[in-house]
Symmetry: C2
Subunit: 306 residues, 2 copies
């Protein structure tokens, strides 16, 4: 099954303790689609400006990502500039320029409207709703961020009513659920629309909640996190990619999808931009899946009264 | 096999967002021994003052913890007063009074010196070394804290050389290893003496490192963390208790021990002091072990090239 992703395709200037890069290709739809492309066919809905040239197009075409729904308009693409300190969990935004993204009105082709899996990347909730209404998807997942939680809570609420699955980080979960305790926050979010909540916890891994199940996995242990940009979107890409590829939504499949998502994110943060993912192999992906399993499994036990 | 623990037996005044208690029995040796007592015989080395009466003694005797090496001297017992905010990960210390603990010189009985498992609770590294030198233990584990890391680094270094296993939290691991990245910090700590490092990460679970293996497990998901005091020591008690009970040190056994430690900590934080552990049953312990397994396991998978 194929996936449609709507989100940003952007130029990022990123500085980390390990180096810096100016105007490399980034954006939620970019990271998501490159990661998901290892699992299934992906189609991108986004807007770019005149600065999107052959080098940027190659990031998608090399991975056979369908960009026929990528709108090209006059002007400059979305631009983000940010810096990470040694605590790589939080980026300090130095500059954000919406540019052509400011007037983006997603126009979906007939094929796009029939895509069975839909991922609503982190953009205005209003746009997420507009896209969602146009697509008769079998499974809809979404991401969001603190900016929309604080500034457009009503629109965010409308978006939540229309998705099956919400993929956010733990600070966002606590904000949306209005609870310091993650379990209680999750319980509340599950009354707002999504039937499944996936909480990204950076170096601590991922937790997943439904009304009747819980799953948690550690992150792949990395000695060097080079650039955390796109970790969440490459996670979502691996996660949705595996679900769409297997066309399964049972708990066991969704757990394996969480692991594939974790694997893709762990590779993505090893280098700037999509550089690491662009030369990734299936052997590397599957090896890291097996490693994560070996890192987290243990045998049954029963302690008799002493 | 039996365990000897040296550490503090203290009176704690604790305030959390959910309530407060004045002068309840606490201290690292208390939490550790009550938790470990569900698994094996435990003997406590510590010092208390005149304020340690029958009610406090019952906390140990009800669990058949051997306090024949508990020294009683004139004066007041160690006292700690602290407060937790809604972020229950960090305690703000309001008061610490060493009292009889200031002149504590551990004197071990002949039986104590032959205990095969030894846990050096969080006290001065110098005292930890003195106890360790007196005991011909098969396995020695230790805890420490930021105060000793910063104020007595040389003594801490001597202690580390004499232990098999170090059980600390992640901030402490980063401080001792002098690395922001936990994997690199762990690698460095493993050159300082311990062959196994267990890193407690609060609500995020536990990570364990050796020179050639890695294991990580999420914490038991709790909707109410009532009082985090003693979480680390009850974890260590369950962990060491299981190892001593099974007298096994292979990777599979140590992983199961991590889970039993996590289970004991998860119960301990549900109420003030040792209250919850004092009425715990084996059925409850084993049920939560099985739950943690169900929460963290997933099936194998192999993604073919798409």
């Amino acid at each position: 099954m194929s996936i449609l992703v709507v989100g940003s395709v952007a130029f990022d200037s990123v500085k980390t303790p390990f180096g810096e890069r100016d105007r490399i290709l980034g954006g939620s739809a970019t990271y998501f689609s490159v990661a998901a492309s290892f699992f299934t066919k992906v189609r991108v809905v986004a807007v770019v400006g005149d600065d999107f040239g052959p080098a940027e197009e190659a990031v998608f075409s090399d991975r056979e990502v369908d960009i026929s729904d990528l709108e090209r308009v006059s002007g400059r693409s979305f631009y983000w500039s940010g810096e990470y300190g040694y605590d790589l969990n939080v980026a300090e935004t130095r500059d954000t320029q919406l540019n052509v993204f400011a007037d983006f009105k997603p126009k979906l082709s007939a094929d796009a409207k029939e895509t069975p899996y839909l991922f609503l990347g982190n953009i205005q909730p209003q746009l997420q709703v507009e896209v969602r209404e146009q697509v008769g998807a079998k499974l809809v997942a979404a991401d969001t961020m603190n900016y929309w939680i604080n500034n457009t809570p009503d629109e965010l609420g409308e978006m939540l009513k229309r998705v099956d699955l919400l993929i956010i980080n733990d600070a966002e979960a606590r904000e949306i659920g209005k609870e310091a305790n993650l379990v209680r926050a999750a319980r509340r979010i599950l009354t707002m629309g999504p039937t499944r909540l996936v909480v990204k916890r950076g170096e601590y891994g991922v937790a997943m909640f439904t009304g009747h199940s819980y799953f948690a996995t550690p992150a792949y242990p990395l000695e060097e996190v080079f650039d955390p940009t796109g970790a969440g979107d490459s996670f979502a890409g691996g996660f949705m990619g595996y679900l769409a590829a297997t066309n399964a939504t049972d708990e066991a499949a969704v757990r394996r999808a969480i692991i594939y998502g974790s694997v893709m994110a762990s590779f993505n943060v090893e280098e700037f931009g999509c550089e690491r993912m662009r030369r990734l192999t299936y052997d590397e992906i599957n090896a890291r899946f097996r490693e994560l399993r070996a890192f987290s499994h243990f045998e049954e036990a029963e302690m008799p009264p002493f």
